[in-house]
Symmetry: C2
Subunit: 430 residues, 2 copies
């Protein structure tokens, strides 16, 4: 089984079904439960009709709904029919939600009691519910006769409370809930922030529809982070693990941004063309271009990554922008200053060693130093602000990728540098 787990990502759909069929019954069940919805769908589609029913019925309603979303349209009805009638109803309700909303993530199988039960009655009632494979018995939700959520009590509290106390005396009525259409990222945040094991999902009228448990959230947290990282790396996020993504879809997700960045970089080319005469007169200027503009890109990449991640974790909100501008202006000044010192050392050292720049040395050093401070400040501020701008216009802030910021900063870098050169070097090199 270990072996199959290791090889799994490398196998084709047919090989997967084949090696899966060689597992013992017990191992197969464990393995099946641990697969992604996509993997489960491949197994279900690949096996015999008799087996198919068996596997579909092993799935909890929320997992079954996910599998149905993975299979081709034409197989959906057939697989749905394999489920028992009660589960079919639950699955149909779940399919009405978008996959990445609280409603699409939740399980309708939670433990519920009425507020006027005694502790003893409640324990007995929950034990009876536990026989239908509840998602968790850790939390017991208190609903009134209209399914409105009144409060929550932990099963542990029920077990240790006096038998004749009423549930409503025991329950916590001030509880965290999430609406059905909340984005899964925010559901994950709510669970992580309040350190709870499950959060109830309620509709507009306060009726409880299901629970999202923390184990569903681990997957969400992980895949949201992956998505953001891919975007920060300068491409569209892949839908499946790298080695399992087919070649053409992957090229498509990478080529798009790469072409956009390439076109963007043409502005840098255009900007440089404007200073062609500078370059013709002082070739040495061209040589420092990569050094200067890449420093702006690097500092911008740091700033945008920091802000994107802080936004994703809810640590930075849109209204914080002015605090961050101030912070990054200062950071840019400090970081640019450090690089400027290194840059001056480089110019002076080269001149001492190779007598390269002659009497222009101090002016060249000044050009490099001043442009570095300017470019790095521009990099940190625009890198930090780009995620805000994207978010304010409804785009994903993670699209402010390192390469994107670098490209934006390059144009400005060229202009800052050649203008500084124009000021400091006219009369000597220019």
């Amino acid at each position: 089984m270990e072996e199959i787990q290791d090889l799994w990502p490398l196998l084709t759909a047919e090989e997967r079904v084949e090696s899966f069929s060689m597992l013992s019954r017990d191992d197969a069940e464990d393995f099946f439960q641990g697969l992604t919805s996509r993997g489960q769908a491949q197994i279900v589609l690949g096996c015999s009709p008799r087996e198919r029913k068996l596997w579909m019925r092993l799935l909890a309603p929320d997992d079954a709904a996910d599998v149905l979303q993975e299979v081709p349209e034409e197989n959906r009805a057939e697989l749905m029919d394999l489920l028992d009638v009660a589960t079919q109803r639950e699955v149909r309700a779940l399919l009405a939600y978008a996959e990445d909303q609280a409603g699409g993530l939740m399980s309708p199988r939670f433990a519920r009691v009425r507020p006027d039960l005694t502790v003893e009655e409640a324990v007995r009632y929950v034990r009876r519910q536990a026989q239908d494979r509840l998602e968790t018995i850790y939390y017991v939700y208190v609903l009134d006769s209209t399914q409105k959520l009144q409060g929550v009590v932990s099963f542990r509290e029920l077990l240790t409370a006096p038998a004749d106390k009423l549930v409503c005396e025991l329950m916590e009525s001030d509880l965290v809930t999430v609406p059905e259409d909340m984005d899964q990222e925010h559901v994950a945040e709510a669970i992580a922030q309040h350190d709870i094991l499950a959060v109830p999902v309620v509709d507009g009228e306060g009726r409880m529809k299901g629970i999202v448990t923390v184990d569903d959230v681990v997957d969400v947290v992980q895949s949201e982070a992956t998505e953001d990282m891919h975007k920060i790396g300068g491409m569209e996020a892949l839908d499946s693990p790298y080695l399992q993504t087919r070649f053409l879809p992957m090229i498509r997700k990478r080529a798009g941004w790469l072409s956009v960045l390439f076109l963007g970089e043409m502005f840098t080319t255009a900007a440089m063309s404007r200073y062609e005469e500078h370059v013709a007169r002082a070739v040495v200027l061209a040589i420092f271009v990569p050094l200067i503009i890449s420093s702006g890109g690097n500092s911008g990449s740091q700033a945008s990554t920091l802000v994107i991640r802080a936004m994703a974790l809810g640590q930075v909100k849109l209204r914080d922008w002015h605090r961050i501008v101030r912070r990054e202006l200062l950071s840019g000044f400090a970081l640019g200053g450090i690089l400027a010192l290194v840059g001056i050392a480089r110019v002076v050292l080269w001149d001492m060693l190779f007598q390269t720049y002659g009497e222009a040395t101090p002016f060249l050093a000044a050009t490099v130093a001043v442009s570095l401070v300017g470019v790095v400040m521009w990099g940190t501020v625009s890198g930090a602000m780009l995620p805000f701008i994207l978010r304010a216009f409804g785009f994903d802030p993670a699209s402010a990728s390192a390469p994107f910021v670098a490209t934006l900063v390059d144009v400005a870098g060229v202009m800052i540098y050649f203008n500084a050169a124009g000021i400091f070097l006219s009369g000597t090199l220019l």
Copy 2:
């Protein structure tokens, strides 16, 4: 309470203690439990000695251990004395582990039974244990008289099984465990992969020491992703949220890599100096430099991000390197080809519009196209391999940041480009 939660990141330690003291008892408890260890430490240190005891005793042993690790050395013994003797013993055991190992993450408060108990006895026994604030009653672990882990049974199963069955007949003995010194990242992987709510931690002899629950893991997954993202963005990972990190430590974490990258970029400058004569003869060549080298950097950043994330999720292992080289060689060829077409269009179009390049046009187009394919292939392959190399030498693969890869690729980019120019343009521009 909502308000304090929102403002929290912006408050100083004193302001935090003050606003915390204004909360009602109930709210304060909720709020305290939801804080990070650092926040809890600030509150505990800030409040009166009587209150201090109260808050320390509210903490579960694993949380108390984390708080003790956050406070200055000299306060540790005093705070430890506030705990009851049993908890002190547990906390001391936990402090012996590194914070980021399974042992440092686990709670010693799990539900345990002997294998020869009947179901009825087991339920009664677990209910009694539940009164001491167990971490979870969801899983009940079956230990023999030497504390060796024999199996696990879910509390739900106990509740629904016949009262006179023995625990050992019911338990699952083939279960996932993690060793005490396992890195927290791998613990998180184990829990996520097997979709379990808690994993038992065992020592070298198979004795059970504690459990790590899935809610601890959400924090781990999130902070590991943050760390990787900061590194991918080209800096050292910050220890605390962006807005809470003080200015100087932040500058230090960013300036280090920025300076390294700056020094790295000097190789590009040196490489360009070698081609100074090319530039002097054909200034137009200099103008395309940013376009060409940034394409290499961008494609490299995509490849390294993909590989770093796939490694962190355990989807790619060291031994997969040759499959990935092959894949990225092909990707680089395809992506470089696409950019080459755009590049040719740019050169030809400019010549048609502005008669810029004259008879050198086809040769310049060939130079740009061939260098783009070469640079992008070099970018994808070296971007994909750098994380492998770092990991093979024991470094964190996430240090293969977008800016780092871009800097490495820049040197090669300059060389590829000017050599291509030497071949295609000698006789016309050169």
